[in-house]
């Protein structure tokens, strides 16, 4: 990379960092002004709704397989079902993900063998 590309990369890195850090500082000041720094009550409602919907949107986007096809969609469905079933039993984070990935992989392999 030449000098201008290095500067561009640093500007992108700094800009991305500021997008993450500055809103935190703004909200801190907002919470201090409201003098209830340990409460979510000072948060605007739209912001508390936006957070879970952003996670839901990430989930929706991540559901689309890299190579969409019948087998990958079926594997996604069964892997997702398995994830939710294991979550209902364990209420943990790691085991449902492990089980979901395992079932997803098994379905992909089985369907490939059958084909």
């Amino acid at each position: 990379m030449d000098k201008s590309l290095w500067l561009l990369m640093l500007a992108c890195a700094l800009g991305t960092f500021l997008l993450r850090a500055l809103p935190l500082l703004w909200m801190r000041r907002h919470l201090v002004r409201r003098s209830i720094s340990n409460s979510t009550e000072a948060m605007p409602l739209w912001l508390t709704v936006l957070a879970p919907t952003m996670i839901a949107a990430m989930f929706g986007v991540s559901l689309v397989p890299a190579h969409p096809g019948l087998s990958s969609w079926l594997a996604t469905l069964l892997g997702g079902l398995c994830t939710i079933l294991v979550w209902r039993r364990t209420r943990s984070l790691g085991w449902p993900v492990c089980a979901g990935v395992t079932v997803y992989g098994l379905v992909v392999v089985l369907l490939r063998l059958l084909a």
């Binding site: 561009l8 991305t16 996670i55 989930f59 929706g60 991540s62 984070l93 990935v101």
Partner: protein, 242 residues
Amino acid sequence: MSSVEAAKSSAWQQGARDALPLLGGYIPVAISFGLIAVQSGFSALETVLISTLIYAGASQFLFIAMVASGAPLWLVLVMTLLINARHLVYGPNIAPYLSNSRWWPLLMHGLTDQIFALAHTRLPQLAEKDRMSWYISAALIAWGSWIVGTAVGAIAGAEITSRWPLLGEVMPFALPALFLVLLAPRFTSVQWTLTMLITIVAALVLKLMGMTNSAIPLAALCGVSLFYLVQAKLKAEGKAHG
């Protein structure tokens, strides 16, 4: 070990445990990034530095693609920041759970989509003194895996993807599985269930339509609008009955 040390150690361990599922999603994508960046003419060192300093998946792919195609540098900067603009809402949402330590703003470098999703669920459940240890541990695992994955991809990506193609296909399912586990406890009322379902479907459809980068903010806005609509309807019904 004193109880304080024990609590500290368990917060570190819990952060690491919580971040482990992320590796399934991060490493294959980081390997792909490393491979594509080297193929686009970047050196292995430059590729690793991009992952270390920018540390934002989608925008990194865009960065190397636009630079390789000779796009104007200002446009590369604008597009990179536009893609990452969704990060604006992450810090404020976890702010109520953070202490006034001056380190927190610096630690926001590690606040990716997935770390935000994890932190938004886990931080409220932790004691205040454990939150920074938990966050640093989880964020370092994620950041480290992204950097190591990029290095592996830049150095040996072509060989790995040709030898174990199935691994790269299966492991990324860890990300939707993780998001599903983080979302499951939020289906607590008709209003939230409707909001979540519509957001998920909107994001899925937008992604299938090829709107990869705008799918997340657009679907989230769609969900927020629906939340307010349902709330207004419930209020109106409450007044009518009341």
